[in-house]
């Protein structure tokens, strides 16, 4: 049976109670314990720094050339915290409630409540590190709104919040490197997990420069390796983001939970052609000021500026008057798809909608004019001042849009379309963030725990840092307290030998195929299958077809892939092949999971299950559980169900109208 180890007692006291009773490791014993951390984004860097500060010996790994480049850096909009600095009614309970509701009642109450409890500490910690959050003229921190909420609780640093938070965590990490408490392994990739007597005891990593395989021991292993959105090929993830470390853990016995829960972000720059290698997000914060619309008549090819106000359909404002353009991501994405599928899409591909700032520019311009005390300003003057305000708020995003599309969004509305952005699913973890393999932990996007079937904006940064700064330093100690008697295991142990041989054989096998098709071409084909059948809308027949297609693709990959270069040296194509091979297997599991879940919830929309007005229709009687999949054999998984129990919140049909 799956035991989530949720502490007993009333919800608001569970975490306090846990912290008051968990086991501790004394400082001299911490020095004898080694911890491996794979991935150094927000979750990994914050965990590495915090654990090293406590005295553990940390080894941290990232595939990038520096931990400062991990993909958390690309997060734009902000980070939520229940500070209630705006006096607008926010509280820990409200952040907890919004997150559970936003996740369409498929997340664990205890985990989410803890997340809301520590959210304020994160802001304090980051400010102390020197993270330059946006501030008001009085010198205090500024907030803005994000989707799915009616309070202003999002802290931000222009459109580069992820960058600033990551640099904060990176600097804390580098300080520990300088102190000798962390040994950093950049340009390294974990290719196998080592388990001894059922416990995670180390990893096999490939030095991506020399090609050498290395063995590393740890009393515990923390996977902070991010999400698996690149299974779709096109996503807003970085080119290198991958599922390999998590997948190795899965194949070694760690359960993979809710893999079909993926987030399609509503506001991304549309695909421009077959050459496209990745998609770029336009922050959700833009929906604070931008209005989303399509022409009211089908196949309208006029320029957007030529379409009069009464010939436009602001469909989010029309369908969801209470939340308007700030509905949650899953709702906004589906609404865009619905309009485009019906023939109202814009741009050459007709797979786009407008995000328009004209109103905001005039609104801000008028405020500036009144600040200056002018009475008879011209429209041009108002627009000029309004543009300045918009530039200060979103300048970097507007520049980015212009570089990619060649269009000036201050003059013409942005064209946007949904794109794969985040994965709520991930390795199953208990309340302590431990996977089903003792000694193996998963933090941040790599685990499944806090966002249910849909993540609210500005919550990913919050969760990554909560796990790393404020959760794992306690929960890891609770388990490592029993490890103080265990000396480090020499990496000559047969389990390390066996794991290294496994990696080496797989690499030899990949290199020996010498087929005709490139790794990239397989990745593209996989992405198309998953996007078409396991993307924004899913059906039973489509998913069945996708499973067959992915299985066939796997066969073809392993018989016809062509990888150039050498094993003992730098070989980015080989690295990519290792990742794509795992994505193919994951892709199959995603479809299996989506097929099993005969309901619609959050980002998982099964066309067979919808309300008369096209909203997701949950089946709480049969599917109010976490689907945790255990790897059994090739193409075979065993399903374990963790029932979700709502003690405090009463699940209802989500309503943003």
């Amino acid at each position: 049976m799956l035991d989530a180890k949720i502490p007993a007692g009333p919800l608001p006291e569970k975490w306090t109670d846990y912290k008051g009773h968990c086991k501790l490791v004394n400082p001299s014993n911490k020095r004898k314990l080694e911890v491996i951390i794979v991935g150094t984004g927000l979750a990994g860097a914050s965990a590495a720094a915090s654990l090293a500060e406590l005295g553990y010996q940390v080894k941290a790994f990232c595939f990038q050339d520096s931990p400062r480049r991990t993909h958390s850096i690309a997060a734009q909009g902000g980070i939520n915290a229940a500070k209630n600095y705006q006096n607008d009614g926010d509280s820990i309970f409200r952040l907890f409630y919004d997150t559970i509701k936003g996740g369409d009642y498929r997340a664990r109450e205890a985990n989410v409540h803890r997340l809301a409890e520590v959210s304020g500490n994160i802001i304090d910690q980051c400010v102390a590190q020197g993270v330059p959050f946006a501030r008001e003229y009085g010198g205090l921190l500024s907030n803005r709104s994000f989707g799915g909420t009616q309070v202003q609780r999002t802290f931000y640093a222009a459109g580069q919040t992820g960058q600033q938070l990551l640099i904060g965590a990176y600097q804390a990490l580098e300080r520990q490197v300088a102190l000798g408490n962390v040994k950093m392994y950049s340009r390294h990739e974990m290719l196998e997990l080592v388990t001894i007597d059922g416990k995670a005891r180390g990893i096999i990593a490939r030095d991506l420069v020399s090609g050498a395989l290395e063995r590393h021991f740890g009393h515990a292993v923390l996977l902070c390796t991010g999400g698996y959105g690149n299974v779709f090929y096109l996503s807003t993830n970085a080119m290198g983001s991958n599922v390999t470390a998590a997948w190795k853990a899965h194949r070694n016995g760690a359960y993979f939970a809710n893999p079909c829960f993926t987030q399609i972000h509503p506001t991304c720059i549309p695909v421009s052609g077959d050459h496209q290698s990745k998609l770029t997000l336009m922050s959700e914060s833009l929906r604070n000021d931008g209005r989303i619309w399509v022409p009211a008549q089908k196949n309208d090819t006029r320029k957007p500026t030529d379409i009069a106000e009464n010939e436009r359909d602001y469909y989010l404002e029309r369908r969801y008057p209470a939340f308007g353009n700030l509905v949650p991501r899953d709702v906004a994405s589906r609404a865009s798809k619905e309009r485009c599928d019906e023939g109202y899409g814009v741009g050459t591909s007709k797979q786009a909608v407008y995000l328009d700032f004209a109103d905001a520019i005039i609104r801000y311009g008028k405020i500036e004019i009144s600040k200056e005390g002018k009475s008879n300003a011209t429209l041009e003057e108002i627009i000029a001042l309004g543009k300045e305000v918009v530039k200060e708020k979103y300048g970097n995003l507007f520049d980015m849009y212009e570089k990619i599309t060649g269009e000036n969004p201050y003059e013409v509305p942005m064209r946007i379309y949904p794109a794969v952005h985040y994965t709520m699913g991930g390795l199953w973890v208990d309340y302590e963030l431990q996977t089903s393999i003792p000694g193996l932990y998963a933090l941040g996007e790599a685990n499944f725990s806090d966002h249910g079937a849909n993540r609210l904006g500005a919550s990913a940064l919050m969760q990554g840092l909560a796990d790393g700064y404020f959760v794992v330093p306690y929960t890891l100690g609770n388990n490592l307290a029993d490890e103080i008697y265990n000396k480090p295991i020499a990496t000559s142990h047969p389990a390390f030998e066996e794991a290294e041989n496994k990696v080496s054989e797989r690499i030899q096998k990949l290199m020996s195929i010498q087929g005709t098709q490139t790794v990239e071409s397989f990745h593209k084909r996989l992405g198309k299958i998953i996007w078409n059948q396991c993307g924004m809308a899913r059906t039973e027949s489509g998913l069945k077809q996708a499973i067959a297609d992915v299985q066939a693709l796997k066969k073809e990959f392993w018989s016809d892939v062509r990888i150039p270069g050498v094993v003992n040296g730098m070989n980015p194509e080989l690295d990519k092949a290792n990742r794509v091979a795992d994505f193919i297997e994951l892709g199959e599991l995603m479809c299996v999971d989506a097929l099993n879940r005969n309901e619609s919830c959050g980002g998982h929309f099964r066309e067979e299950y919808q309300t008369p007005d096209g909203e997701a229709l949950r089946d709480d009687a049969n599917y109010m559980y976490v689907a945790a999949w255990q790897f059994a054999d090739e193409h075979k998984w065993e399903l374990h169900k963790e029932p979700l129990v709502y003690d405090v919140i009463k699940p209802s049909q989500r309503n943003y109208k």
Partner: protein
């Protein structure tokens, strides 16, 4: 923005002169390649993807280069294009450069960052770990997790916060070093010193930070600054050279007041 930009979509054939170098020990050389039917809507790195797919199919070794986020924020990409770090567009990274900057028949020269402190690993990929070691020397505020007071207990004047943010936008790509005739890392270093010394939180370590970071920069072999401003002109995040003036002031204050 850029004058050579156009909305019109077109295709082009290009000649590429690319630096190939097997590793840091072996000398490298330029090699010529031709790519055809490149869309003006592609990014520069997508054009390299096309070339690499072509090389793999032809049984040749694809070109190695650093890249990751492809949206101008991670600082991985680092190509020296037609004599300029990150190519012809101002305030731009290689990954955000799009092919509408070029025309049919162009020859494009692509080199790695050139600086002794950034040794070539392979082809266009260099080792920038010196930057991490400069940060290790003091580019942080020493505050352990859990020590923080309430975020609003320490008001920071908006203009200080804004200036600190403008400096903290540095992506650590190293274009400033590559553009400098002396291979100086002063813009990179000064951005971090400015970011932290402009904030009250950074004050306690203000003196030791600047002294230690400058010492590490010198140890890594970066050259001196002669104020030519090439770094500022090439910086994808438009980090101002005023930060170098602030660094000099901070360094002078720290060394003159040292015990």
């Amino acid at each position: 923005m850029e004058s050579d930009r156009t909305m019109e979509h077109y295709h082009m054939n290009l000649n590429l002169k690319v630096w190939r170098q097997p590793n840091s020990q072996t000398p490298g050389a330029f090699k010529l390649y031709r790519v055809e039917n490149i869309s003006s809507e592609m990014s520069f790195l997508e054009m390299f993807d096309v070339l690499n797919e072509q090389l793999i199919r032809d049984g040749e070794d694809p070109i190695t280069f650093d890249h990751d986020c492809r949206e101008g924020i991670c600082g991985s990409c680092s190509m020296y294009i037609n004599g300029k770090p990150h190519g012809p567009w101002a305030a731009n990274t290689t990954c955000q450069l799009h092919m509408r900057a070029f025309h049919d028949g162009d020859t494009i020269v692509v080199e790695p960052w050139r600086a002794n402190s950034f040794p070539v690993i392979k082809d266009l990929m260099v080792d920038r770990s010196a930057f991490d070691r400069i940060i290790q020397a003091g580019g942080y505020i020493s505050v352990n997790t859990g020590n923080a007071v309430d975020g609003n207990s320490l008001p920071v004047p908006k203009d200080h916060a804004d200036q600190a943010f403008a400096a903290a936008m540095c992506i650590g790509c190293g274009a400033c070093v590559a553009a400098c005739k002396n291979s100086s890392a002063m813009l990179f270093l000064s951005a971090k010193v400015s970011h932290l010394s402009l904030l009250p939180q950074g004050d306690p370590e203000r003196s030791s930070r600047v002294v230690n970071m400058v010492a590490q920069m010198d140890k890594e072999g970066f050259g001196a600054c002669t104020n030519t401003g090439a770094c500022e002109a090439t910086c994808p995040k438009e980090i101002s050279i005023a930060n170098i003036a602030r660094l000099n002031k901070e360094y002078l204050l720290a060394t003159l007041t040292a015990e």
